[in-house]
């Protein structure tokens, strides 16, 4: 194509070309994400919203574990702070059954932001520990948060409603309710209830969370945290204050968890203490390991995989071989057990064949990984893709915590 004809054409085609296939595919994906509320039943929307919660929480946890090399087993606690924080801030003081519940009655959107900040404050309050402890030691220390949180949720009844939890007030943005309001809102003939509306709110949150994390990782803080993870001494020599950066990573990560918790509360419509167990923290760690440590896209992929897989299996258990639906008298594997086996298998396969997580399995790399060939860490575009670089492969093959994908 000559210069002249390019000038003659409108710049639109040029722009489209400049986007490149990946960008176009990403754009298509984004467009597709807008469609589900028009087509899917409330079950899939709820599953999707839970997946979005997992994505936000996993991106946040990945900043801490994947980038900063710190471990946290207590992230369920920060989800709880976000969820109960939003509920308490947005709800009015009222009496429910036999319990008096307190609340501030703030506008919901303000309460949401405040809940995220509250989770950040809770994370910052933990900074004397999170700044000084490293890796596994921090993990053990954060374990205590889970038990403290559970005790508090059960006993601070006027804030949390105790064991039976409390109803979550609906989100409202500029007068538009995101709950099951009876205002007859319909798009293209499809009545839009609470879940349909929340879907878009969730999408916006995921987009903001992903963009913020990307910028953070690409900027100075991300590089500083990566340096800290790989060598504290070297980082300190370069002028990175270790304790401050670690504490900051923990705080930011807990704010992500707070946002995820508040969205979880909105999606579930009622918060109860049992959501926020140690199991949730473990699931989140599994998500980022499966997805790929240190990468935003990996965290998102892992989160979707872990949170949607059991639902898919339960829903299609009738159509799958060897899997039987719950309560069936036929011999076979219950769908919940099957999901657990697959989940375990995915974790093991990921660690063995793709220590970089799902995100490293793009295109031809997957096949090579399965063949177990040593591979370049970041193959330069000019190199023939099959040329092995044993030394680079050997340094990245085993240690997942050091894998820092772009």
């Amino acid at each position: 194509m000559s210069d002249r004809s390019a000038k003659a054409h409108t710049s639109v085609t040029d722009r489209v070309r400049a986007l490149g296939p990946r960008r176009i595919a990403a754009l298509a994906g984004c467009l597709l994400l807008l469609a589900p509320p028009l087509y899917l039943s409330s079950f899939w929307l709820q599953t999707g919203l839970f997946a979005m919660v997992a994505v936000i929480a996993a991106i946040g946890l990945n900043l801490l574990v994947g980038t900063a090399g710190q471990l946290s087993l207590g992230h369920a606690f920060f989800l709880a702070v976000g969820a109960y924080g939003y509920t308490w801030l947005a709800d009015d003081t009222h009496r429910s059954g036999t319990a008096d519940l307190s609340g501030l009655g703030l506008p919901p959107l303000l309460a949401f932001v405040a809940a995220v900040l509250l989770a950040g404050v809770a994370g910052a309050a933990f900074s004397p520990l999170s700044g000084r402890l490293r890796g596994m030691y921090l993990g053990v220390a954060t374990l205590a948060l889970i038990f403290f949180g559970h005790h508090a949720m059960l006993n601070a009844e006027s804030y949390t409603g105790g064991f039976n939890g409390r109803t979550v007030p609906e989100m409202e943005i500029l007068g538009l309710s995101l709950g099951d309001a009876d205002d007859g809102l319909a798009v293209l003939g499809v009545p839009f209830g609470g879940l349909e509306r929340l879907w878009y709110f969730g999408l916006v949150l995921v987009a903001v969370a992903a963009l913020a994390a990307r910028n953070l990782l690409k900027g100075r803080p991300g590089r500083a945290l990566g340096a800290l993870r790989d060598s504290e001494v070297a980082a300190a020599v370069m002028g990175v204050p270790a304790a401050r950066y670690r504490a900051a990573a923990f705080t930011v990560s807990s704010m992500y968890a707070g946002a995820a918790g508040a969205l979880l509360a909105l999606a579930a419509q009622r918060v109860v203490p049992d959501y926020f167990s140690l199991l949730l923290s473990m699931d989140m760690l599994a998500m980022i390991v499966i997805g790929g440590l240190g990468s935003v896209a990996g965290a998102a992929a892992g989160a979707v995989f872990v949170s949607v897989l059991p639902q898919l299996l339960a829903h299609y258990s009738d159509a799958l071989p060897l899997v039987v639906s719950a309560g069936s008298a036929e011999p076979g594997l219950g769908s919940a057990d099957a999901a657990r086996f697959l989940y375990g298998a995915a974790l093991v396969l990921t660690l063995v064949f793709a220590p970089g997580g799902l995100v490293s399995l793009r295109g031809g790399r997957a096949a090579r990984a399965l063949r177990g060939l040593p591979r370049p860490r970041r193959p330069a575009p000019t190199l023939p893709s099959t040329s092995p670089q044993p030394s680079a492969g050997a340094t990245t093959g085993g240690d997942t915590l050091k894998e820092h994908t772009p």
Partner: protein, 420 residues
């Protein structure tokens, strides 16, 4: 590269088309209609089928109990379906397993709610709590397996038989007589933190106050296995009896350690604290001598025809699974469901509202419960009577009945004070 670009562009165009086409078939919910015989129908009702949901634990910590309860209900409904069903329709269960995971329970509820007429079995207290609002919003009549009085008062959530606190008031009344307790006597009170223990403790504290007993309280966590420290404290306090609401493993430890250290006093336990499997532990002799269980259900070894039928049918259908109290609850849930649907059919209203009205019209329903139950008020337990049984090897359910369904004289005052 051009090829890839083309593919990507094609994908983008397709997705755009899909989004904009809006050829969705979603929406246009089927409103309540009326069938040929003039019966009003609602979600989950077709011309030959009534779909009923079950949300229970089949893969988590209490899976064995969930399985027993489900099998008993399936068995009961099978018999009803073979005999012609209800309203000319067969009843089919839509079962989902939440594995005692709150999030899974919420997702599974969202999945099955549009296709069911009622929730025939809902188990797990935290899972129930998480669904309280959804059930009320959808007006979905639900039958809960579990007996914590704290969820009473929700119009569409039905508890069966007596609750933990009622059993404790009645049980302490029994204990006062059996152990010949006097005013001022000290009684040990061991219970797990949380909903079940807390609810039972309310009843025990009230009854103890009325009888003039001094409670020596010890709380434990559900995960605690060894209760030696608690027993030591109770022995030091010189207790004459022990009231206990915990999990089975703790019962074995509590009674076993107490007997071994010479604290041979009667122990009154809530129903969830005992399973027949405890008789296979070294604590067996002590359990048979010291333990009393306050239960909303009759012991499975009693000679009542309705209980015998359940035990025989269940053993025949599931020879590998021991019959237990969960099977009783499941059987009762099935029976209550069928009774409700029959009443709704008579009133010619199988819509969700019709079904809950029908359930509330059952004021003396005994089928499957062995004692007449009053389901008219959602804020009240359907029964105020408690059975007392003792562990015994070699009989169905591993218990022999000591006292038939009885209401303690103080119970009325307790219920008045607790607004239920």
């Amino acid at each position: 590269m051009n090829r890839r670009k083309f593919l990507a562009a094609a994908a983008a165009a397709t997705s755009l088309a899909v989004v904009l086409a809006g050829c969705s078939t979603k929406g246009g919910e089927s409103a309540a209609t009326t069938d040929k015989s003039g019966i009003k129908t609602g979600p989950g009702i077709t011309k030959d089928k009534i779909s009923v949901g079950v949300l229970t634990d089949l893969s988590g910590p209490v899976a064995p109990l969930g399985k027993s309860a489900l099998q008993a209900e399936q068995l009961y409904l099978k018999q009803v379906n073979v005999a012609g069903g209800v309203c000319g329709r067969t009843i089919e269960l839509v079962v989902r397993d939440h594995g005692l995971d709150v999030q899974k329970a919420v997702a599974a509820y969202a999945e099955i709610e549009p296709q069911i007429a009622a929730l025939g079995q809902l188990s797990g207290s935290a899972q129930t709590a998480a669904l309280l609002d959804g059930i009320e919003k959808d007006k979905l009549q639900s039958i809960q397996i579990g007996a914590s009085g704290t969820v009473l008062g929700k119009p569409h959530l039905r508890l069966m038989a007596s609750t933990y606190d009622i059993d404790m008031v009645n049980g302490v009344g029994f204990l006062v007589k059996a152990a010949k307790l006097k005013k001022g006597d000290k009684v040990g009170h061991v219970y797990v933190e949380g909903e079940y223990g807390g609810n039972a403790a309310e009843g025990a504290e009230f009854a103890a106050k009325k009888a003039g007993l001094t409670l020596v309280a010890q709380t434990v966590k559900p995960t605690d296995k060894d209760l030696t420290a608690q027993v030591t404290a109770l022995r030091a306090a010189g207790v004459k009896a022990i009231v206990f609401s915990g999990v089975p493993a703790q019962t074995a430890s509590l009674v076993g350690v107490a007997a071994a250290t010479g604290l041979k006093v009667p122990v009154l336990a809530s129903a969830p604290a005992y399973v027949p499997q405890l008789l296979a532990t070294p604590a067996k002799p002590a359990l048979e001598k010291m333990l009393y269980v306050a239960s909303p259900w009759p012991a499975l070894s009693v000679d009542t025809p309705s209980v015998k039928k359940l035990v025989d049918d269940y053993t025949k259908a599931y020879p590998k699974d021991p019959v237990n109290q969960a099977a009783q609850a499941g059987n009762a849930a099935g029976s209550l469901l069928v009774g409700t649907l029959k009443a709704a059919c008579e009133a010619k209203d199988l819509s969700r509202d019709g079904i809950s009205k029908a359930l509330r019209s059952l004021t003396a329903y005994a089928e499957g419960f062995h004692e007449p139950q009053n389901f008219s008020d959602p804020a009240k337990a359907s029964s105020t009577k408690t059975y007392i049984a003792q562990p015994a090897a070699g009989v169905p359910g591993g218990m022999k009945q000591i006292q038939d369904a009885t209401e303690d004289p103080w119970l009325a005052e307790y219920l008045a004070a607790h607004g239920g």
